[in-house]
Each structure stands twice: as C-alpha cells, then as structure tokens.
Homo-oligomer: 202 residues x 2
C-alpha cells in the first residue's frame, strides 16, 4: 500500500529491488532513491551489468562453474591437474579456494547441497556430469569440499557412496580450529572434531 | 582483487552492485549470484525497472517531488489546498505524510538539508522555486517539516528567516513524545520538548 504513493516507475523499481534476497521495503526505497538521485550513468551501468551478466554468463559445460567462456578458464588451463577434482557447492567456494593459491586441480560446482526439506534432491544438483567426468581413468582423487554443515555433510556422504565404487580416492576437507581462533570461543562440535583429528607433532 | 577470479561479466555486476549505498562486497556477491540463478525474467525486469525509472521519473516542476507526470499528481489535484505548502527534505517524507491522510495542502521537496560539513548550501537545495511559489498572494502558510535533527532544524531556521518577511505564516511540526512511547525510554531532549510544549487539557 505504501508504494501506491510513489510515481508508477518509482514504485515498480522499489518492488523489483525488494525482490532481492535480504532487501526489505525500506532498503529498496533507499536504493531506489539513490539510483534516481545519482548521476544517470550509475543507474544505467547497473542495468547494463545485470543484462550483460544474464546474457553472457552461463555454466561451464565441464565443471558447472559460472563463466563467460566455455569451458571456463580453470578447465581450459593446461597447467591444472585434471586428475584431482574439488567438488564445491557454489561458485563463490571456487573463488575462496583459488585465493589460497595452493590448489592446482580442477573443480566441480554442484550449485547447492542435498536438502530434503527444501526439496533439493540429487536431480537438482550438478551431479550427473561429475559422474561423467569420472567415467574415464584420468581422475585419481575427488575432494569433497561441501560446507561443514548438515546439508553439506549429507551431500558429501551421498557422493562418497557413489564415487568410491568407481575406484577413485575420495577425501574430505579437514575439520578443526580455524587459524587465529581462540579456544574459549570455539563451539563444542568444532572443538570435538579438532581433538578427534589431533596430529602428532614431529 | 577477489573479484578478479569471477568471469568478467559477473565481476562487473558485483562491482556495480557494490556501488549501491549499504551494499558491501559480500552482499553484492550474494545479490549477483541471486540474479544469475533466478529465472532470467527476475534480472531482466530489475534492469528494465532501473532504466525505466531513470528515463521516466523526474522532478515535478512545481514542488520538486519525484514524478512520472509533470506537474505531479498532488500539484495537479484540484481538491488540494494550494494555500498551504508543507516543506520536506525528501520524497519519502511526502509518502510518510500522505499516509496520515489528514493533510490537504501541497508539498515542496528540498532534496536535502543544509549541511556545511557535507558541502550542502542553499544553492544545492530546491529553495529558489519555493520562493517563486510564495511570490503571489495565494500561499497562506508554510509548514517546515524538515527532520528534527541539527541539519533539519538549521534548514528550517534558514527558511523561516527567508519566508517570514514575505508576510506568510511559517509553522514547524510539533515536538514531543511519539504516540505509543514509554516515558522511561524517551531521551531527555525529546522529554524536554514535550514538557515545554505541554498542552492544557480542556
């Protein structure tokens, strides 16, 4: 009702912005007025960027990561070890791991995790093309780098059961205390995992 | 640097979203991936709404409010009392007052408040056209409805000194306790204003 008072185009803009996740009506109003008051090129280049991204960006036919060239730069890169596939839930996870710079394998992006409550089953995830990639003999190891939460663990378990029979080594990221963390603030589950996974100092 | 890892069009979209006020890089990433994963029409209609708003929406030549018809619906409305002008800082303030439904006058939107620290002087505000509107004899009262803060009060004082010599009645919104408030949580300045402005019960 509130938006009825604004001019039609303003009201429509507020409505569209409010559809974005985490953006309520008040924030949508603030953003709309920013876009209307800023120099025209600010708004136009945002509109262009949205349109361009939707038109140019798609999923890599090999790994499923978002890309504007197919295959994506990582899959095209001859120096990457195609024998190790790191399976992640989200394109953002690829970026996070790339920042570490120590991983020289390739990726596979699931675009989600198994979640029966939200109706996400194996068919909704990018799993079939992962199994296709494992059909040859070239892959030596699959690293399951799904999130360390209920959905991520369930997805990893599901994938491990599918992949192990193929004779491929399956690993999982280590659990433990984050670097720089204080023991007293660690939750008991993390602490438990850190104790269970303790390493001998050599 | 982080965004270098994304495809060019994704990176550009994140960058454009991060220029919006209150949107950091993480939120921009989240919004970008939402736009890329949602059905195409969600992203396209947002891009359209931004472009349409920029193209169609402008300031009313009379009151300065944002509108897609000129003069705006309030200024065109024959049933509104053109003799009372309510001066506000922002188009959102017009919407807030319209919700009250009891005000039958017209508006004048300043598009800001005087703020020497931010380099906002009288020239930056929509003040000259307000004085033009007062040049005839038709306006009986100007209600200064700027925000009850330092900039809003300074702006009201500045406008009052300009307008009073023209022989027009100048008023200010009442200060006091918000309806539904609890005394114990009221700040001392608001409480002081409420006591100073106390009204006799008849």
């Amino acid at each position: 009702m509130k938006q009825m008072q604004y001019a039609g185009a303003v009201s429509r803009l507020i409505g569209e912005l409010a559809r974005l996740p985490g953006i309520g009506t008040k924030t949508a109003q603030r953003l709309a007025f920013f876009l209307l008051n800023a120099p025209p090129e600010v708004a136009i280049s945002l509109a262009e960027a949205i349109r361009e991204a939707r038109e140019k960006v798609g999923r890599c036919s090999v790994c499923g990561n978002l890309t504007d060239v197919d295959p994506c730069p990582v899959c095209q890169n001859e120096t990457r070890d195609k024998g190790i596939i790191c399976v992640v839930q989200d394109p953002r996870d690829v970026v996070a791991i790339e920042k570490y710079r120590g991983f020289k394998g390739v990726y596979h992006v699931l675009h989600g995790a198994l979640s029966p409550l939200e109706g996400v089953g194996p068919q909704e995830l990018n799993i079939k093309s992962l199994l296709d990639r494992l059909a040859g003999d070239s892959v030596r190891e699959v690293i399951l780098a799904t999130n360390p939460d209920v959905e991520g663990d369930a997805t990893a378990l599901y994938l491990a059961r599918l992949i192990k029979p193929l004779g491929v080594k399956v690993t999982r990221l280590a659990r433990g205390l984050p670097v720089g963390a204080h023991l007293e603030y660690a939750d008991e589950v993390t602490l438990g995992r850190a104790i269970e996974g303790r390493l001998e100092i050599e």
